[in-house]
Amino acid sequence: MIEASHKQPGYIAALLHRLAGLALAIFLPIHFLALATALNGADALDAFLNVTQTPVLKFAEAVIVVALALHMTLGLRVLAVEFLPMREHTFLTVSICLAAAIAVGLLFMLNVG
């Protein structure tokens, strides 16, 4: 049975915030390794960039964009809760954070085509 305290919007927000952070932490070194292929010449980089044109990787890219947006919106929420003299309606603010992140992901997918 999932505890009642783990079904609350605040906990879910914290969980998503950390998971998105983990995803970004795993993504970043891979990203730098990919950029480093340029050190071996333009062909090496192009060969790698061709791999990223597959639908699976394009989707993964969109997931990373959502993770980045989510990490930012939820981080801004925590900063607002802690540093602004305001009280939030947790369910509403977390929903807005999620919606904004998904909207960013959809926009990204529209542009990627």
């Binding site: 049975m1 999932i2 505890e3 009642a4 305290s5 609350q8 919007p9 605040g10 906990y11 914290a14 925590v78 809760v81 802690e82 540093f83 009280r87 947790t90």
Partner: protein
């Protein structure tokens, strides 16, 4: 509602080790969860241990985990806590050492109030009798309003039971003690701010809060310890920048 209807109740028996025992309790209108426990103890099994005193939401002694959620049982009606299948599962509060059945050891919890310097420390000037005068605290002042928002804590331990950080780090002062400290940070008559902010600045202090909001979600008195802790974090920043904490 007819009394012939039965409520199926599972109650934790034992301490850290133990098991659930089942009871059937007559369902009554407006029955509270505490009424159910009392019925079991008086009519079915006198060895059941639990704690209560005032029965009206003032003393903070009857908190338990009801169907997975920490609650004050004297002010929780069965109808709001019961599952759709008519079951009620009663456990002792989480993050406390269980003494027996539904009674938990509260000593560490109350000690944390002391450790967070959650007590009034008069200004130096008050120690000199000739200097004593009434301190005016306007009810509408921001400090008084901030203190008011957190002052009604009854020390029931519901927030402590719901807090994930307490579960991860038993040294963490917890939402109740930090909320208490925040009310005193806003007490203009208090002269112990340096020691207080020092006491709550460590790894077990206000910065350990992860803003999960569980305490705020579950506090039966509607207090929002998350915002009190946020206030302490701001006070710390102000102190670090060399400004007054208030």
């Amino acid at each position: 509602m007819s009394e012939s209807k039965l409520l199926h109740v599972e109650v934790w028996r034992g301490a850290a080790e133990g098991k659930f025992q089942s009871f059937d309790v007559p369902r009554r209108e407006h029955q509270t969860v505490l009424d159910v426990v009392t019925q079991i103890q008086r009519e079915q099994d006198a060895t059941l241990s639990y704690r209560f005193a005032c029965r009206v939401g003032m003393c903070g002694s009857c908190a338990m985990v009801v169907n997975g959620r920490p609650r004050w049982t004297c002010r929780t009606r069965v109808s709001t806590a019961v599952k759709a299948d008519g079951r009620l599962r009663l456990e002792p509060l989480k993050n406390f050492t269980v003494v027996k059945d539904l009674a938990v050891e509260m000593t560490d919890f109350f000690d944390k109030n002391r450790d967070a310097k959650g007590y009034f420390e008069p200004h130096k000037s008050w120690q000199d009798l000739s200097q004593r005068q009434f301190e005016i605290v306007p009810p509408a002042s921001p400090q008084r309003q901030a203190a008011d928002a957190g002052i009604e804590c009854i020390g029931c331990g519901v927030c402590h039971s719901a807090c994930d950080v307490v579960a991860w780090n038993e040294d963490y002062l917890g939402p109740a003690a930090l909320n208490r400290a925040w009310t005193l940070v806003n007490d203009v008559r208090d002269g112990g701010q340096e020691a207080r902010l020092g006491a709550i600045s460590g790894s077990a202090g206000c910065h350990a809060c992860h803003t999960h909001m569980n305490c705020t979600q579950f506090c039966p008195k509607g207090i929002a310890p998350t915002y009190s802790i946020a206030g302490l974090k701001r006070a710390m920043v102000s102190r670090a920048l060399g400004r007054s904490a208030r």
